[in-house]
Subunit: 240 residues, 2 copies
């Protein structure tokens, strides 16, 4: 459909170990869809520098935009900023602009700006800062990679800071039809619909409820009239 593309890179052991569920992917997917940017791939890697560097390089080369979450806090396992610098061959150190933000914040709150917290001012040399209205420590953009925090409230605030500055395409519209038949009964109808509406994406998501089979059919596209037409025809053909 010609929209800009995007990938997300989630960094951190906590999801891979099953300890927590990721909350940021779902939020980003919805925001990008609204903004007309097609999220094409998500990768989750552990707090392992070679894995992070390799994923950043691969995704940066493959998509218009890359959004990362996690690993930019003050603790020893926060290695994302250094990995981004390495992936882009840039130097990294405590930067005056980021340090000034932290100094002002900690002066206000009365907390000590110690060596650990100063790590959050380590920013690659050519990065642009991303505003963090929640807890001040900034994210940053290097090339086409937007580096954001993993804490959901901070991640969401940073997405809100970044997205308005990115060129979007036509927002992806969708309609769905809930059908209480097995997928196998509607597959032929759906296949023909997908061929006749090749400009749309037609997905079928089966479920089982109380022993009965059903499926949600979702029609997506940027042309609302076409989406309407496909849903109308599908409902008519299935006698709904």
């Amino acid at each position: 459909m010609g929209n800009p593309t995007a990938a997300m890179l989630v960094i951190g052991d906590e999801i891979l170990s099953g300890r927590t569920r990721d909350a940021n992917m779902h939020h980003l997917a919805q925001e990008l869809t609204k903004h007309g940017i097609d999220l094409k791939e998500v990768r989750i890697v552990s707090d392992d520098a070679p894995a992070i560097v390799a994923a950043v390089r691969a995704l940066s080369a493959g998509y218009t935009h890359v959004f990362t979450s996690g690993g930019i806090g003050p603790t020893h396992d926060d290695i994302t900023a250094d990995c981004i610098a390495e992936a882009f061959g840039q130097s990294i150190d405590i930067r005056a602009d980021a340090r000034a933000l932290l100094e002002a914040h900690y002066a206000r709150t009365g907390l000590e700006l110690n060596a650990a917290r100063l790590r959050m001012a380590r920013i690659p040399e050519k990065a642009t800062l991303i505003e963090n209205p929640v807890s001040v420590a900034p994210g940053f953009t290097v090339g086409n990679v937007h580096v954001m925090a993993g804490v959901p409230s901070v991640f969401q605030a940073m997405v809100a800071s970044v997205l308005p500055g990115l060129t979007g395409g036509a927002p992806l519209l969708s309609q769905s039809l809930r059908i209480m038949r097995g997928e196998g009964d509607i597959a032929e109808t759906l296949g023909q619909l997908a061929r006749d509406f090749a400009d749309l994406s037609i997905g079928c998501y089966p479920f089982q409820k109380d022993g009965a089979y059903g499926a949600n059919v979702v029609v997506r596209g940027s042309d609302g009239a076409r989406v309407d037409a496909a849903i109308t025809r599908l409902a008519a053909e299935l006698g709904l």
Copy 2:
């Protein structure tokens, strides 16, 4: 830690568009952790054959085991089986063993085994079938790739069929400490702990609640006495 490694590949547009949240990743992560297999990477790709084939090849080469979810149903967007065959250079067609399973099932239920449903018997030539006690249509294993359904109840049943046959390592044990201080206040203590317990993984996951900062520190390892020792020392050093 010498445990076998694993990657997961989630196939399907519905998560990338923000329509649904993935439920299978969290389940697999927990089951693998119990079984002593280290989940190192997750990728989510759309219903796009080149993207699926490339991801299968990369993950199969990089990890001991690969688990896929999604795309093995009867509809036009179910292209996983063909992509797996392509990734491994195997032919694929309706296979007699899988067809027999479906014939018996549909004979019992009185539903028609039509052309769409027969697609679920398309299995790569050298694959081993994975039992599906929920809805019969099998998953399959090719090489080190275990191909499973996306419907959570079926996915979970297939994981339960596959895991007992895989060699696991020492299960990963974890303990956590909830600390009502900012990450920046405990970062130095944690960094020293991580250096002194280099055989363990020590993660710090910050949160904000009612305006206060806190962090969950999670210590993971396969030696329970070492995990105990690290948590005990951390609590003592923080005066908890």
